[in-house]
Subunit: 385 residues, 2 copies
């Protein structure tokens, strides 16, 4: 149990390793809760470092830097999943409250470990296997058919580290990278959903409403809350599956479970143990934002209400276009829709890079989607420079 | 006109003089908008300085410090009204976009100037007069009756600098302070309301819904949005009065107009030209928070929707009690009401000091008020140590 009073009369101190947009948005929630948020950044101009007073510079791969960073923190948590598992174990052994702990986090770091564990606890998975040669992939395809989805066991994100292979030739290319891979049967899904849950060290769990996520080229471009027309019974099953995974894996903090909805039921696709792109809509769209929820969970404070603040909430990611001058289009978007909520991450604009998101709230699905799309498209600017 | 692109490829830079809770909460809005918020603080442990990366130390009464602070800012604005008017004029003369400008801000700094101007533009005021002797006060009372309200012309806040005098003897005490005073007729009000409006340099104006404010010992303890049972027609009049004052005084940024609702109509009580306690409910309770609105207004960006995010929103201030250990009660309040929103200001607890606020949202007025009160009372702790 964390005692938030140990270290600072001004409030609990949470250290977040990494200074990307997740840490940046966590600062908005920390300010309200009186939590002192500290981040470990690579450089002063990173997304979160630009807005957080207690920014420490260091390398998340260096145990010494992590140790120094953790001093005085009531809890240490993560903006990304790249901190070496052995360092997390070392910190925990020295008494640091690392949330989530190494035994949970490894399931978001290593897809083979994740599949083994999910299979063991009975969570719905596609057929899968570790593969290390073309013969392995061909044997897998023999049983489950092409296409075969090859995934990097570690380090993939936003579609990187995933190869959907229609043939042995395509598989050969992925194998040639030399990266450790696992094979998964291609899931003919009807749509993709995500369930965001939070779990605290003392075991309280809450689930946000099930959302639909829309991907393009492996990148999430839109999230609709709640998932339109998704049957209540199936939504309850999805929430039960996600809460069960959080419990069985011993997650503390947030867990995002990305799932495929298929004709024959739900299949778990990916896990993330931190605030997640599929939950950005909660900043305005839920009574408790995912960032506040994560802070409450890692400090073992009671969790907040996940209920919707409006009947329909749509988030669209802002991807960089060829023209970096995003602020010149800002004014037009704000003027066009006084209710649109813009979130910029303070990141340099590069084509295809996630530089922010917009959220629209309302009652009519088509109208709310159209508002979010309009803002995202306008802010991206002309596609040809 | 501000061009937000002049100074930083990462977004516009807004400098806020002062580092109290208003600057602190403005940071939450700045993070989303990609605005780089800079504050001028007296010390690193001030409310906003604790959470803002670009904190500069200096004295707001020193023109040199203000000049240095303003360098590179696309707009300079204020967390409080204490910056000397002549310094604001000097900065403006040197090309700094000060919002609001000195000619507007003086009406929030000097109550006699405010009364003169409001009288001139026909805004409803109580009878008033500058007074400098007991004879002046007695002459005023002769005409308007006792009690007479004496107010410090400059520098009062939260009930300080206001004396409600039932007799000449009581007036003598106020006069003995040597502070410049004005006398106002006591207004037998039915309730107090506030209208928060924003106005941008190019003249766009928006008004939030009229709220009711509840004061105890001169300190606002509760704000109810919208003002319960307040007639729509009278609310429209109140909004028109507030927008008219903003226009006629040339306000840029927010203007809070505190009014008395009396049997014979509305009377303007006080003005503030910055985010205001009566607007804290907007963080969760309106589509655009007052802090976001202020940033948009001072940068001359289109203003955001002021519409309500829930049918009833109640904000209760958290006042410090004798027990400074406010975080020990935090957990119970969060557990009791998963929907309550707590805002701590990162300030040391002292009896009667505003250290934060809570906001409850819902549909039933009595229930929402009860939730906000319960949280505020619990967080204050035992009244006797």
């Amino acid at each position: 149990m964390v005692n938030p009073l140990v270290n600072s009369p001004a409030g609990p101190v949470v250290g977040m390793v990494g200074a990307g947009q997740l840490a940046r948005m966590t600062q908005q929630a920390a300010i309200a809760l009186g939590i002192e948020l500290r981040v470990l950044a690579n450089a002063r101009d990173e997304s979160a470092a630009r807005v957080i007073a207690d920014t420490r510079l260091g390398d998340y791969r260096d145990l010494g830097d992590l140790r120094e960073f953790a001093k005085g923190c009531d809890a240490v948590t993560f903006d990304h999943e790249h901190v070496p598992t052995e360092h997390i174990r070392a910190l925990a052994a020295e008494g640091v409250a690392v949330r989530p702990g190494a035994d949970a986090l490894v399931h978001a770091q290593d897809k083979a470990v994740m599949r083994e564990r999910l299979t063991a606890i009975g969570a719905p998975c596609p057929a899968w296997s570790r593969v290390s040669s073309l013969a392995d992939v061909e044997a897998f395809a023999e049983e489950h058919g092409w296409p075969v989805v090859l995934k990097a066991v570690r380090g993939g994100y936003d579609g990187r580290g995933v190869w959907v292979c229609a043939s042995a030739d395509e598989a050969r290319e992925a194998l040639a990278t030399g990266i450790a891979l696992l094979a998964e049967a291609f899931v003919p899904f009807e749509r993709e959903i995500a369930v965001l849950v939070a779990r605290s060290p003392h075991g309280q769990g809450v689930s946000y409403p099930v959302v639909e996520t829309v991907q393009q080229d492996g990148i999430c471009v839109e999230v609709i809350a709640p998932a339109p027309g998704f049957p209540a019974e199936e939504a309850a099953v999805a929430q039960r599956v996600a809460l069960g995974i959080a419990r069985d894996l011993g997650v503390t903090g947030l867990l995002a479970v990305e799932m495929f909805a298929t004709r024959s039921g739900l299949v778990v696709n990916e896990l993330a143990m931190r605030p997640h792109n599929s939950g950005h809509w909660t900043i305005e769209g839920a009574r408790t934002s995912q960032f506040e929820q994560h802070l409450r969970a890692v400090l073992d404070l009671p969790l907040g209400s996940p209920s919707l603040a409006a009947p329909v909430v749509v988030m669209a990611n802002l991807l960089g276009g060829p023209d970096p001058d995003v602020f010149s289009r800002y004014e037009h978007v704000l003027a066009n829709d006084p209710g649109i909520k813009i979130h910029f991450y303070g990141k340099a604009v590069r084509p295809g890079r996630k530089i922010g998101h917009v959220t629209a709230l309302g009652t009519d699905l088509d109208e709310v989607r159209a508002r979010a799309h309009h803002a995202a498209v306008c802010l991206r600017g002309p596609l040809n420079g």
